[in-house]
Amino acid sequence: MNMLIAVFREVAGLFVDDGSLALAILAVVVFAGVLATLMPDFPLAAGAILLLGCLGVLLANVILATPR
């Protein structure tokens, strides 16, 4: 049982180490998805949001994770 829990934790941990990073990535993807649905003629707008959003999330998360 302990082994199963450890495996489950490890699988979840593959994707979620810092919860705020995972949530922020999902938020960017959802936002880009909504944009792609609302503006199907401008798919690159969703692509730009996705790209810039993820790069911004990475930078912000690293800065916030650093103790001042």
Binding site: F15, I25, V29, L51, L58, I63
Partner: protein, 249 residues
């Protein structure tokens, strides 16, 4: 050329990621072998490998039944989360915010724990040692399996991606057998940095494709994404660097 744009980075990413995971698994298997001998260490490792192969065999055909669009989106998001998680950790380690992973320390800790278990309950120790080895191979191997499946899904890259993983594992096992100690000199954080950049780039590409985005330059966009993730990561290291930190140790 189209396929090489995918095969090259995909196989390289899998090779480097597998190198990191194999080094970590080898450290624990070596610790088990040092304390209890090769029998429980080897049997545990083989059992872990067998379970990993079973997971790939069962999961691989199932993925073929998922619509490509949905598969790209799901795998893309998971790759983004996985790759950016590695990249974040590599940035923080490069900047000296969190300590570097040290295989020698991990080996010493695992060995000490096994010796303590030996002192307390010797009769069950072979079983516990085998289980430790099994768990190490299974848990580290799960990451390799995910990366292999993720970079190859829907692209027909299962064979080159698996070959990259196998080559890395064989290399680590071969060197491990020769030197007979943890591979502490492998520049693990540099590898994690590179893999994080590449997996994030793949994740970006496939998430966009899954959302219906036609990236300019098509597959070549992956290279541009990798360059952008690398640039932002390097900027992040500079911004948060601690005075004593050595970059990319």
């Amino acid at each position: 050329m189209d396929s090489w744009v995918h095969i090259g980075p995909a196989t390289t990413a899998v090779f480097l990621a597998s190198l990191v995971e194999a080094v970590e698994a080898l450290t624990i298997v070596l610790a088990v072998a040092t304390v209890r001998g090769w029998r429980p260490a080897g049997l545990g490792a083989l059992a872990g490998l067998a379970l990993l192969i079973l997971i790939v065999v069962l999961l691989g055909p199932l993925l073929d039944r998922v619509p490509l669009h949905l598969l790209q989106l799901a795998i893309g998001v998971l790759l983004l989360m996985f790759g950016m998680r590695w990249l974040r950790k590599a940035i923080l380690r490069s900047a000296g915010v969190i300590p570097l992973h040290d295989e020698a320390v991990a080996f010493a800790a695992e060995t000490a724990q096994l010796r303590e278990q030996a002192r307390l309950r010797d009769a069950r120790l072979d079983w516990l040692a085998g289980l430790t080895s099994f768990k190490a191979v299974l848990l580290e191997g799960l990451e390799v399996v995910f990366i292999v499946i993720a970079v190859s899904a829907g692209r027909g890259l299962l064979i080159p991606a698996s070959a990259g993983a196998l080559a890395a594992c064989l290399l680590v096992v071969g060197v491990g057998f020769i030197v007979h100690r943890p591979l502490a000199r492998v520049p693990e954080n540099t590898l994690k940095f590179a893999v994080g950049v590449m997996l994030s780039a793949f994740g970006m590409f496939w998430t966009g494709e899954g959302l219906g985005v036609s990236w300019p330059g098509e597959d070549l966009a992956i290279v541009a994404f990798a360059a952008m993730f690398l640039a932002v990561a390097l900027v992040a290291v500079i911004i948060v660097r601690r005075p004593s930190a050595k970059a990319f140790s």
